[in-house]
Symmetry: C2
Subunit: 272 residues, 2 copies
């Protein structure tokens, strides 16, 4: 199934463009789960069960699992397996921000798409399309290219002007015109840069955006939706991590997470 | 110990600027090791023991370990531990090509520098200095920034011209002028682009280069050394992966690897 179709179907089914960022840092997980055999997995499983009817995607960030070495990698795999088995319609994104030379990317693509079974992965553009072929060639998997990142220092290189156009728009243009032959590319566009988001949307048509930066990072939801949505009022996957998953550090964490997702979903839909 | 000092000491001690790329893809490991309990580790250990007096650095690429999930991550850690315990003077580089927003990079830095204990890590520049602070702030650890990569399509973005200067030189300039306050930055400069290497060296003074791209990728050793060396005939870490570690797929693989490293070391030293 094409990744855009999968995304659109779940947005329609759950009436939601919310993505929950499963950035389940071990030290922030509620104390009562710390003694579980698989604490990160137990935490994620409860969050997933509490929110699966309210989201379009889950996005674990690899860093928080790698930080624990083998144990974390195992629980990352368990998390993907759980979503795929129990909620197969929900999009899964590994936020790994990878990109190496082609022969090495083969290994990453196998791990991320085949072993973990992720639907999508986030990728750096710096090595160009040729290096990313092992990802781009996967017709039913999504390559989410970093275009305008949400961090305060994003502009250092991304704003540099080339032929009158900033680098982040060059990246968007290359993806749109040349990289997206399989209709499987998406772009990372931070909610913290609404003006830049507007320019990217006007350049790329309906290419979907993964939108980090609301919540803890301060991005504005109204602007992200108004400037980011495509012609059909879709095309944006709005991620919330810490604000949702760490809404409570007590036994009610999953319930509190659900309430945060409900609130976010409604706010997003208000501006669609 | 400052990372430049560690690098210079081992270059002097072993009279070598060779780095062995431990890209130990499971499926390419000699058959007789495949049935070991820890095949990637067994393979690496034999290679390390056979070459530790001839190299300045080892560089496992994370992709080839992640490809096996938890099992690979365990053997990656075992490999780092082995080098640190038995050959503490040799530089260790995790080739992971990471870069995320700052709070996420904290997790990567902890994993790579503290858990694995790597001396250096390779990093993408796209998110800028602000995001990379968790790496750059580690005074005794090396941040190796992708500047000019070795792949055929490297120029797609890296050659784009900004104020008369290509992006890869902008990256080199920012690292030199602003990122390197702790004297712990290095640059990735592919041997497959000698003219670009010459320009980078003339811009950055003595900042060391990690040089991939010789061997399987076709880079020229004479040019890499002539254009890449610093004023003291040092400053380059020339990586060879496949040509060394898969020089034989029989029981003599470590011996054959040693012969390849000897040859490479001598050829590099000829042009220093």
């Amino acid at each position: 199934m094409n990744i855009y179709s999968k995304l659109n179907s779940i947005i329609d089914k759950n009436n939601s463009m919310v993505c929950v960022g499963l950035d389940s840092a071990m030290e922030k997980i509620p104390t009562h789960l710390q003694k579980e055999r698989y604490p990160q997995y137990a935490f994620n499983k409860a969050l997933i069960d509490a929110t699966a009817d309210l989201v379009c995607a889950y996005k674990p960030n690899s860093a928080f699992y790698e930080a624990r070495g083998e144990a974390g990698m195992k629980e990352l795999k368990m998390t993907f397996d759980y979503i795929h088995n129990k909620y197969p319609n929900v999009l899964t994104i590994l936020d790994a921000k990878r990109a190496d030379i082609g022969s090495t990317n083969e290994g990453y693509a196998k791990y991320i798409f085949d072993y973990l079974g992720a639907d999508c992965v986030t990728l750096h553009p710096y090595l160009g399309k040729e290096a990313l072929k092992p990802f781009l060639a996967r017709k039913n998997k999504g390559s989410i290219i970093l275009c305008r990142t949400s961090n305060p220092g994003a502009g250092e290189f991304q704003d540099l002007i080339i032929d009158g156009e900033p680098l982040y728009l060059k990246v968007a243009g290359h993806v749109k015109k040349d990289w997206n032959r399989n209709n499987n590319c998406l772009l990372v566009v931070g909610a913290t840069y609404p003006e830049e988001m507007k320019k990217i949307r006007s350049l790329v048509g309906d290419t979907p955006f993964l939108v980090p930066g609301i919540g803890a990072q301060g991005g504005d939801i109204e602007k992200a939706v108004t400037y980011g949505r495509d012609r059909n009022g879709k095309g944006i996957i709005i991620n919330s991590g810490r604000n949702v998953i760490f809404a409570s550090n007590k036994e009610d964490f999953a319930l509190k997470a659900r309430k945060e997702v409900e609130k976010l979903k409604d706010e997003i839909n208000k501006y669609r």
